[in-house]
Symmetry: D2
Subunit: 331 residues, 4 copies
């Protein structure tokens, strides 16, 4: 009983997912692929045990030989493909963001509500990272007591010069927004954004930024997002609780002594850092155990991100004002 997955979008992420489904996940194969670039789709299909290449994404979604769909296409297309999957009654794993706007996300919530059961998973892969699951296990096990603060650091070596400051929030810090909700099991209620002078390397982008988030129970989370950090890719956090703290820094297994330094190597981008998270996310999705982010989580992440963008622009604290969670996602 091998699930046949259809992949929409065979860029870096889609190709990576195809490889994992083919080589490293139990109970799955790539049944079909679609990409606007048919040659690229063909290459991925060939490396995926001879999957079918579809000329039309909706044909793929509707095909009887496709059991479930993975969406790794451009952000703007996520909504329509997810809605088509829901309409077809097929499970779908959609890369973040679920949709770039809260309105788009809301339409998906409505469609899923109309369908009557959950079909949508959002690719917030960090929820499967062994570091983050360790962190949550320590917190939930009561080893450090009641949480009070968390400090996040999220750095990329370089970004396209001059992108809008909002992109740091919606593309990058959105992972911390999701993780903060997931870790504490509650909503973010208030946000603020502080910015230093921008890095001269950022081409005018307001980079870095410091987001300040408050949760329902009063946990304070700060997020340094810095997409032109130059030295490498790094994601870290320290959870501060009443009896102690937990730090996630995920050091690599080896260190070098060379040239006057004792050093550990940092990855150049997020893929080596979260390779295991992606594998576990896919295995969990194939197993149908449902630990991934729901459509509601996708909506909430976009909703809070929009509040942060507003706070960035106004320089003021913003109350998030999250709508209440629909019945389908409770409990």
């Amino acid at each position: 009983v091998v699930k046949r997955i259809g992949i929409i979008g065979t860029g870096i992420m889609g190709a990576d997912h195809a490889r994992l489904l083919t080589d490293a996940v139990s109970g799955a194969c790539v049944g079909g692929v679609f990409d606007p670039d048919a040659e690229r789709a063909g290459g991925v299909a060939a490396r995926s045990g001879g999957a079918r290449v579809f000329a039309d994404p909706y044909a793929l979604i509707g095909d009887d030989g496709i059991d479930a769909v993975l969406i790794a296409s451009s952000d703007a297309t996520h909504e329509e493909y997810v809605l088509a999957c829901v309409a077809a009654g097929k499970p779908v794993l959609c890369e973040k963001p679920l949709a770039p706007t809260t309105e788009g996300c809301a339409r998906i919530l409505e469609a899923e509500a109309a369908h009557g059961s959950r079909l949508v998973t959002v690719g917030f892969m960090r929820r499967f990272d062994p570091g983050y699951t360790d962190l949550k296990a320590v917190l939930d096990g009561g080893e450090v007591g009641i949480p009070l603060m968390i400090h996040h650091v999220h750095r990329n070596p370089a970004a396209v010069p001059g992108i809008p400051g909002s992109a740091l929030i919606t593309n990058s810090a959105v992972h911390e927004l999701d993780i903060t909700r997931w870790l504490f099991g509650e909503e973010i209620t208030e946000v603020a954004v502080h910015t230093p002078r921008p890095s001269g390397r950022a081409g005018g982008t307001r980079d870095p930024q410091l987001l300040i988030l408050t949760t329902e129970s009063g946990v304070l989370a700060d997020v340094e997002i810095f997409v032109n950090a130059r030295y490498g890719y790094e994601v870290r956090c320290e959870l501060v609780a009443e009896e102690g703290t937990v730090t996630l820094d995920a050091p690599p297994p080896t260190s070098l002594r060379r040239g006057g330094l004792h050093a550990r190597e940092l990855p150049a981008d997020w893929r080596p850092r979260f390779a295991e998270a992606y594998r576990l996310e896919l295995q969990d999705w194939i197993d149908g155990t449902g630990r991934g982010a729901t459509a509601w989580d996708g909506f909430a992440a976009t909703y809070v991100a929009q509040a942060c963008v507003a706070a960035l622009e106004s320089g003021e604290r913003h109350v998030v004002g999250m709508p209440s969670i629909p019945r389908l996602y409770r409990g």
Copy 2:
């Protein structure tokens, strides 16, 4: 040519300074001590090579056998003793704060201006900590480029329950206020304070807090101050610059593997962490090389701390509005 130091206040800090001056600093001895508790003063004098015990602090300040004065008495008394030293024309090292109010600090600035040369050093010992001086050397050496942010963490295991939240700023975070000014060589211009729900261990104190500071050139500094952190004493920071970051965490020289853990021990309070800083601070003061914090630095630290207290109380961003630096402290 051994300098004879008079010590006012022989509590924990004063006794520690007496020991260092006697046992570990070149060119100094304890010439006299005063404490309201004469027995305590006598004990320190006995352990300091037979220093004289004074019954009156002003007599000590004025005595011909005393070359310079170290003030380690209660905060409220600092101003009057410092003013007496300036009046007597004697160098004085005053534990922080220079005075609890900006008005008190300003009176010392005026006295020193009237005297016409610098006599006052404020005991911001972190400026002599090998970790902080390393950090500054890396920054000043251009190894990581232009600074953008700094994240500070400052934790004590326990504080008196129910102290006012302002005390976290004026007693503890004031060290980070000073270090931030010293590190970047510029003033703090704007402050804000965010707070999570308070720790249940704090007896009602708003603890922890997150201070957000902006400097003249636009560096953004955040300071977690947490005085009931339970697990131990810890001071850390990470400086984020355009080409890289520098972290100060000062690990102890040894680690233990025992009971399922690979661990480094954390100190129970600030004294072991900053023992070397205190020694170097005293040696520098005795040598007269003048690298310690000036009366202006003491004034500025208190001034910014007051702005932070106002920001804590209002929940708003506050512009600091620092007066301009007097001629005596320029260059």
Copy 3:
């Protein structure tokens, strides 16, 4: 094309392998299981998607519904099962040791030579550990120059009191013997064993021990093996080369600050430490890419272990005198 694996031995290791093959490896399922304890076999079969339970291991090996065999039975039975697999022309993954004696291993080499191609893989899983493969990649990439020494540490929290000292070598240090051969791609030519006074926790066993190994090209490897180390399970090494060193210590992703310590947790046994290695070993075996240890590697590990046991007993350096590698395993 899913490979149907027959598992002989469903103790801790066999059950773990069954779980991985079922849940976490692509292209494999458990086709059948055998264990002298039929109830235990039945439980594993039930958790493995309804695999068949065999009453006879040779029937399992010979069954047309079994494509390949995994042997996780008691050490003494390895040889006969491996020989049966070779006779049946089926690929076999045998947990270490290939056989407890060099004679037993030699009979397998002969059988495989008679068969004419390689069928046997030995479960030296560390070759697939991301830490060890990192280490080898750094070495092979020339980043630290020509290797000169390696220091290994291998500790278990507790062993059965009073086991013979030779068991530390044949059961535990044999992993380092294999890794040393694999890392440098050459044989161990000379061995010596030094021992301190034994731990009072070892019930008379000569524990710990320090093995000293020399390779063909003159690399010196030392191995601390300590099976009653109490504090936890730990495997580390530092490779010393002409231009630098590489350390493998594989820290967990999170650390705790609590109770006066900043600590990382150590595992209680080898399974969490090498969980990823086991998964990758099985995936590689299923993929048939042949990076696992061969029967020759299994023979060589046992051969060098026997030389170490002789060195332990005599207190003298021993020349290993490894036979030359058979044609089947060259190149």
Copy 4:
């Protein structure tokens, strides 16, 4: 009561000691200096508060204005100067080695015995290093139980090419010989030396080496000594005991993230690593508290070093056969 120290030998070490005695030690000054290079002596004297320059080392030793003598001259001259100090009844701190030969050391023991009390301290400064004293405190406090093994690593970036292999033992590893004796409070009874192929950077020297030492109670110590390690200077050890281990690695207070690495800087030579040890050693010597290495310790270090040199040359284990400790050094 400032002790006036006469310094014989004003090379790097002597000049460093002069600076510490002048600037960083309480209760001492440099009273006189001698060096065969009178100009060099004059420079050090000038930087030492106007100390006298002596033209004759024996005149310095005998001078009434010199209370104690520090010997930092070439190794071959140590014996005669120490004997002159003993004859003059003056305390003397002699850089290691006490004398290059056991016979030379023995003559000093005889002289001191004839004098009837201890005057000689040997400059094994590591006994004062905060890392080593931490390590010993943990061991003596029973936190890890009875010691079984210790692994030492001692690396220098470069040495003069082609020096004899014995020099690695007598110049460098002698520090580990002393520390091992000091840490466990017992003698080394048996030694062996293993060597890999030498580094191509060593110009023919047998470098690195692995010394294996056994103490009276059966602790096994191994010492990697590598004087052309290229990457930096480093001294580390891990003490292995029945209930846990203690590692001394003395990380610097700051780390850098830059260029794809998270790194701590390693010193280029031993002086920054042991700067604090030298200061504390001198302060202890000035205080006369007698925690430094005695003439017997100096003799024993040379004695064991000679046994290691014999073991290096023979390739065999050597019994040390240490003479029994003279009455003067007991208890």
